[in-house]
């Protein structure tokens, strides 16, 4: 067991955890923030994507002990009274059906917009589709997810 301290959604958290604890387990089991989902074992589905120090990372492929001192943002940490523009765009454009991949899609969407804005690049449809390479959705056919992210990019 090792003590880790991670700031999650702006709140300091600290737990004694086994060294094998994945960030996804830390969030889901230790903090009971179950919005971060796990859909595969090979780091491909992207349902678990969170932001670590502002960057999208697959929470199922990071050890909690290695993130001592980090700041993590999960899907639970986005809405601030009102929905985050990305969440609102997913609702408006019907960018979710079963909701299971949605947290990862939202976090990846925010990450790509942040990066493209920082680099002054245009996030067009082709770019959004390419940037979603690490997120799999089985319900929506991506059509409305792509629309939602494009719309949020204009509003964020």
């Amino acid at each position: 067991m090792t003590q880790v301290a991670i700031t999650v959604n702006g709140k300091a958290t600290s737990r004694d955890v086994p060294d094998t604890t994945l960030l996804s387990d830390y969030l889901r089991e230790d903090l009971r923030l179950t919005g971060t989902h796990v859909g595969c074992d090979t780091s491909q589905c992207g349902a678990c994507v969170v932001l670590i120090d502002g960057k999208a990372v697959k929470a199922c492929t990071a050890l909690a002990v290695s993130l001592d001192g980090s700041k993590v943002t999960t899907v639970e940490g986005l809405a601030n009274g009102a929905l985050h523009p990305m969440q609102a765009a997913f609702k408006e454009h019907h960018g979710l059906q079963c909701g299971f991949c949605t947290p990862g899609m939202i976090m990846s969407g925010i990450d790509m917009i942040n990066r493209y804005k920082a680099e002054g690049r245009t996030l067009d449809e082709a770019a959004i589709r390419h940037e979603l390479e690490g997120n799999i959705c089985r319900c929506t056919g991506y059509h409305n997810i792509v629309k939602a992210i494009g719309d949020a990019a204009a509003k964020m």
């Binding site: 060294d19 090979t42 780091s43 994507v49 670590i52 050890l63 940037e131 997120n135």
Partner: protein, 265 residues
Amino acid sequence: MHPTKYHKPSSVSDAVAALAGADDGKLLAGGQTLLPTMKQHLAAPSDLVDVRSIDGMSEITVGNGTVTVGAATTHAEVAASAEVRQHIPGLASLAGGIGDPAVRHMGTIGGSLANNDPAADYPAAVLGLGASVITSKREIAADDFFDGMFTTALEDDEIITAVRFPVPEASAYAKFDNPASRYAMAGVFVSRGASGVRVAVTGAGDDGVMRHDGLEAALSSSFTADACDGVEVSADGLLSDIHASAAYRANLVKQMAKTAVAAAG
């Protein structure tokens, strides 16, 4: 996952000591391959030695006609680096195409090279540029580093600290993704520089990354996409699996070589 003990040394010597003190220690650099492997019980190291907090392991420096990338530099950092983009654009674009955006935020060059997955991208850049792998013990030339799939010249207690790339006159990487894993089904890195033309192929060979003599010879005479057309890319020694036959991979090697040369200009 099987239990493991996590170490976070702040120096190379501490890391070496931690490895030496472990029954079955493994280095953790980005974990994007190692952690899934552990989750599936395909690896169960007694200790994990995280190299990411070691001073200087994540730096990119330029000088003397080289670009040196610290072993713990992430793919995203290499892809976004102004220095790398300026001096070795082929390397930056290769790094920007590894895995997916989230994987690129964690995966590192050192981790990729030490693992030497036969379909990984970085080995093609290291071999295709004739880079040197700098370790805790020595400097290993690319041609001596890769030793067949998942095997390198690294010793058990040896740690990659950086990779030094000579700045070429031109370079580019083109890959055809495995449709499922998005690893390279055939990836070709071409470079033209002081030591001539180098062509490295990943994802296709049945023994890991390799140079391609035929393409190197042809491109040495004429560094043009058309020059690749006359080259016979043999299917012998290429991988054959459910995704691609050796013959198809041979075709892809040629096509990717043409694409890369065209991109390198």
